[in-house]
């Protein structure tokens, strides 16, 4: 493959790649650094690329390896991340002031419930064991086949199937227990609460009913609801959406809060 062709194809993949790294690291800086390093490394090794896998698979392999080195050294987040970070935000007047400033002034500062659903999944997925988190994103959001993921993660197809099953089951259980969008008894209403703050003129219930995940909730098909949640993530580019600046600001806040929180917790 020529450098020109590589650059051309890289441009078509880089959006998904950056989104993937952001969602597994929850760090804007890491996403930018890793995507940059992936480009440099891929260019350096371009002569070894024989097309045994697609270029997308090859680039995701390089990026996943770079990300895993960082992530293995970090503690995993906890399932109740949204409770911990909400409490921190409520005690941080500056956070809301800056968020409102972004909401009022940025062309990418809109608040949309769907964006928050994707944001929320990113945060909670960091409570999964790393391999499970990566498999869930690669398969469900970035649409790799089960047979392609072993190449990306350097494992067997059997283990990919296990990680996927375990990760998916855990996320279904967590959202089934916590998410008020799909469970009336769910303890987390954060996406609706924030809609009330950032879009005070909107009728939140009307907005919620525009979302398939919410419309289908009463049927109670947990697997289907998970698929609909994944559909929301697939449709959003966290760096380019109308809500990207507000959500990225919020994500950065949550990452900092969780890093401090995990520093204090004993293994």
């Amino acid at each position: 493959m020529t450098v020109e062709l590589f650059n051309q194809e890289f441009e078509g993949i880089v959006g998904q790649l950056k989104s993937y790294i952001l969602r597994i690291t929850a760090s804007i800086a890491d996403a930018e650094d890793i995507v940059h390093d992936t480009y440099i490394k891929a260019l350096d090794k371009l002569h070894t690329f024989r097309g045994a896998s697609s270029l997308k698979t090859w680039l995701f392999t390089i990026a996943s390896n770079l990300a895993k080195d960082n992530l293995r050294a970090q503690k995993r987040w906890t399932e109740n991340v949204t409770d911990i970070t909400k409490e921190a935000a409520l005690n941080n007047r500056q956070f809301f002031q800056e968020a409102m400033n972004i909401r009022m002034t940025s062309p990418h500062g809109q608040y949309e419930v769907k964006e928050h659903i994707a944001f929320c999944f990113t945060c909670i997925s960091k409570s999964l064991p790393l391999e499970q988190q990566l498999c869930v994103f690669l398969k469900e959001v970035y649409e790799f086949k089960v047979s392609e993921i072993p190449t990306i993660l350097g494992t067997t197809e059997a283990m990919v199937k296990y990680y996927l099953h375990a990760g998916r089951s855990k996320m279904i259980n967590i959202f089934d227990g916590r998410c008020a969008l799909i469970n009336k008894e769910g303890v987390c209403h954060q996406c609706s609460e924030l809609n009330g703050i950032f879009n005070p003129k909107q009728n939140t219930q009307v907005e919620l009913m525009k979302i398939d995940l919410v419309k289908e909730a009463e049927k109670g098909d947990k697997e289907h609801l998970f698929d609909l949640r994944m559909q929301v993530l697939r449709e959003i580019n966290p760096f380019k959406s109308k809500a990207s600046e507000l959500q990225l600001y919020h994500l950065e806040h949550n990452r900092q809060v969780m890093e401090k929180y995990l520093e204090k917790t004993v293994d």
């Binding site: 089960v146 059997a158 199937k161």
Partner: protein
């Protein structure tokens, strides 16, 4: 060894002697041994797939101590030590009163045979033998749950 002659039909069998009781079950599973092994060794995941285990705390690895709660005796926490750990082949844990051994044997046709044996007893066994419930039903359920979960995972596309 009982497992070698045991039918792979998921039916438990118990042999009783004065000082020991040994319960075994064996079942054929159409799945990669790595999947079965992953299910057997990920402590926190047990309650998701295994209806006989309420919880397992700790790390299932050689020499580690784990705390197991079972439906057989809901109020009791079994404090066990992992005594054997051969990936995708054999896992054993136990305490002073008995040992449980899990084995995975490849059959060469895309299936494995999973076997589980628990031997309890000792010199004082006759004094409390009648107080220990039968393991048969729980063993059959364990094997059935493991088969179902492993085959569900294996069939994913």
């Amino acid at each position: 060894m009982i497992t070698s002659t045991m039918a792979q039909n998921g039916k438990a069998a118990t042999i009783k002697t004065t000082f020991h009781r040994e319960t075994s079950v064996s079942i054929e599973i159409k799945a990669d041994p790595a999947i079965v092994w992953a299910l057997l060794t990920k402590a926190s995941d047990y309650p998701h797939w295994n209806s006989t285990v309420t919880s397992i705390e700790g790390n299932i690895a050689l020499g580690e101590k784990i705390k197991l709660k079972s439906i057989l005796d809901a109020k009791r926490t079994f404090k066990l030590k992992v005594k054997e750990f051969e990936p995708e082949k054999k896992l054993a844990w136990g305490d002073g009163q008995g040992n449980r051994v899990y084995t995975i044997t490849k059959n060469g046709s895309g299936t494995i045979t999973f076997s589980m044996t628990e031997k309890i007893g000792g010199l004082m066994f006759p004094m409390y033998a009648k107080m220990i419930p039968s393991f048969d039903q729980s063993f059959e359920q364990f094997a059935s749950d493991l088969k179902k979960e492993s085959e569900t995972i294996m069939s994913a596309k």
